[in-house]
Symmetry: none
Subunit: 413 residues, 2 copies
């Protein structure tokens, strides 16, 4: 079943609302095996809206349109859909009564005249009651393509969608979907693809997608079955196992959690405490870790030693080391990690020192060069990496590689 989602409203400004609505709808539909092919944001404009509805209606079997059902002249969804489907708009007095009721509940006696616009119904559509706002929804049980018009505010959209989903849409689906997301680190996107392409290319089902961030790769699998959710899961798990086997040196998790959450969870379960000495990341590592609720159980804190003076003064990096090898070196990284562990009394000390750019490159040390180091009571392990010349990528990549240092350490322990 082909589904298209259309969000009507100011394209640039209602981002959160559009995302909330489309993600909610997509997730619900996916559980019933209905995938959204396309998500479209369009401004309140009769011509644009009619055009896209007309085309989407020809292509899809399910068309979900949110927004543009308000009372103002900007709200053109009803007109556009009627236009596109060549249907009339009929005025329903009973809806006016319901809207009047909603205003009364809010303590407003006189319904504004403009709200009467919301009482127009597309010929043949079923009216969906709005228990929260004034905009009623509409459901058109068309033979070729079911069309659903829902209000824009998520608080009104969600309960209305839930109801119509259970009653009308879920029963239409005759197929099941199971999804799985595998996370990897320490490998690039193209290395990943060249390792696993020959495996997943054999499968039309599940469908495989690779997503890459600096220092973090995600492989998403979507399995489908016409028979049962169990079959969809079996298919997905089978491919997942093969990919995991091939990528076993790089696997992080198959849970739907972030890299930092994975690390915080593992440290918490083993009661290992952590501290960090950050130079080029400037606090980004601590920020990621402390985004996780409960991180305070294992994260003691750290030092942002952005200047060389602070590296020496606060982390006790030897002047000699800084002089001989420079602030961006494996030797300095090592002393930074040792220094922060000693200062904080944590079990593990992590350090990050590098050149975030755009300035700061020296001979033999290009922008993007970062040294990362882990120090524990019994061991030292360091890595370095040259990231592309982009401040954001360098910082994000350095944090992910540092998290991976901890992951490897915990795996080996």
């Amino acid at each position: 079943m082909r589904a298209i989602f259309i969000a009507v409203g100011s394209e640039l400004l209602d981002r959160d609302r559009i995302d909330t609505n489309s993600l909610y709808v997509a997730k619900k539909l996916r559980e019933k095996g209905i995938l959204i092919d396309m998500k479209i944001s369009v401004c309140d404009n009769l011509e644009n809206l009619s055009w896209i509805v007309k085309n989407a209606y020809k292509r899809a079997q399910l068309l979900i349109i949110t927004g543009g059902l308000g009372p103002t002249e900007d709200d053109l969804t009803r007109e556009s859909v009627a236009n596109a489907l060549k249907k009339d708009l009929l005025f329903k007095e009973s809806i006016v009564d319901e809207i009047r009721e909603t205003f009364l509940k809010r303590g407003i006696r006189r319904m504004p005249e403009i709200n009467k616009r919301q009482a127009f119904v597309i010929e043949g559509a079923e009216v969906l009651t709005n228990n929260i706002g004034t905009a009623p929804g509409l459901y058109i049980d068309d033979e070729i393509c079911k069309v659903l018009l829902l209000p824009g505010p998520p608080i009104e959209m969600i309960p209305m969608f839930d109801k119509v989903f259970e009653e009308k849409i879920a029963p239409l689906s005759n197929f099941f979907i199971y999804t799985k997301s595998l996370k990897f680190s320490g490998i690039t996107e193209s290395e990943t693809d060249s390792k696993i392409a020959e495996i997943y290319a054999k499968y039309k089902n599940p469908r495989t997608t690779i997503l890459a961030a600096p220092g973090l790769i995600e492989v998403h699998l979507i399995g489908r079955s016409k028979k049962s959710i169990d079959e969809a899961q079996t298919l997905t798990d089978e491919l997942a196992e093969k990919i995991k086997e091939r990528m076993k040196d790089y696997i992080l998790t198959e849970k739907d959690i972030s890299f930092e959450e994975l690390i915080v969870n593992e440290l918490r379960s083993r009661q290992i405490t952590l501290s960090v000495a950050e130079s080029c990341t400037g606090g980004a590592f601590g920020n990621r870790i402390t985004n996780i609720p409960g991180s305070s159980e294992i994260f003691l804190g750290g030092i942002i030693a952005y200047s060389n003076e602070l590296k020496a003064k606060m982390l006790e990096v030897k002047e000699e080391t800084l002089k001989k090898y420079g602030a961006v070196s494996k030797e300095t990284a090592k002393e930074m990690a040792q220094g922060i562990r000693k200062k904080s009394g944590s079990d593990i000390g992590i350090s990050i020192t590098g050149i975030a750019g755009p300035g700061g490159a020296t001979k033999g040390k290009p922008v993007g060069l970062v040294f990362m180091h882990l120090n524990s009571e019994k061991e030292d392990r360091g890595i370095y990496k040259i990231f592309p010349n982009n401040r954001n990528i360098v910082k994000t990549g350095a944090v992910n590689y540092s998290l991976n240092l901890i992951k490897k350490y915990l795996d080996d322990k």
Copy 2:
């Protein structure tokens, strides 16, 4: 001029990337009077992609497609556009050389075989060099509709778009737009609206929009003119002046820069150095500051004192203070700021201590309570704020309020 934006990729997963790209492109186009009619996200699927490209091509005069130019079998944008426009794909050896070069720069001698897929060019298209990644862009100077294919990662997309925008797209526009964004801090969204609604409601042109983040309000004005950019600017400036007058106690800047960039710039121009002691923000303040290139000139570093022990040990907060007032108190905040300034030798010390939640509330100290403090040689100033119970809002809000502490300090100086 009718423009349509298409983002290719996994609809549910690349949200940030899609938003970054589409917002960036929309903003640039808007400045030249070109408004995006429709923003479409579509999965990597040949049939869907060809269908939407074919339709959009018929409707638009400018079609911007991002993503799906990678080397893997998932990457189908080239094929889909060729399909839709009924053009051939031609293999260009010179592109292979460029890609090989990119790999060499990263220290990889052997270009993976699959990257050859990126050397296919749509017949008649101009190749846009990618200086960062391997995916070249394409520009099709079609008579009816200009088609632009750009890579998905914003870091690659943005410089490529900038170049082609200046050279090819901007000259096509015949309508003028002037935008202005005013930033405010220390006031809420609804307070802002009640202060300025009666002013901006009088204007149909410019159009006014209020955007709110915790601790930061933006008022966007978009002025239009068919005559000249000067007329658009005059209209916009007139309204901007009225809003600034009404909001003069809260204004940060009317430049199109982030709050942290504003602060870094002001500190740099006055040669005032900064350090930070972060508790509940866990590095978020340092992270924001160090996102700005050149911040190392004024940001010395800081201490992330997540645990109480570190507050005492590393920042020299008195045991007595922690005991009597608690870690989340104006007294502890003051000693933290004094401590970090002393330790780092900076001109200003900032401290942040609070309860990010969801746990950690105590009697009289709810989740969301944060104390922020600024210490300089001659003065101490502190504020506190109770943010909503949401970790992300608490952290972001605390950073913005701390930046505002610095702003006010600099204004008074």
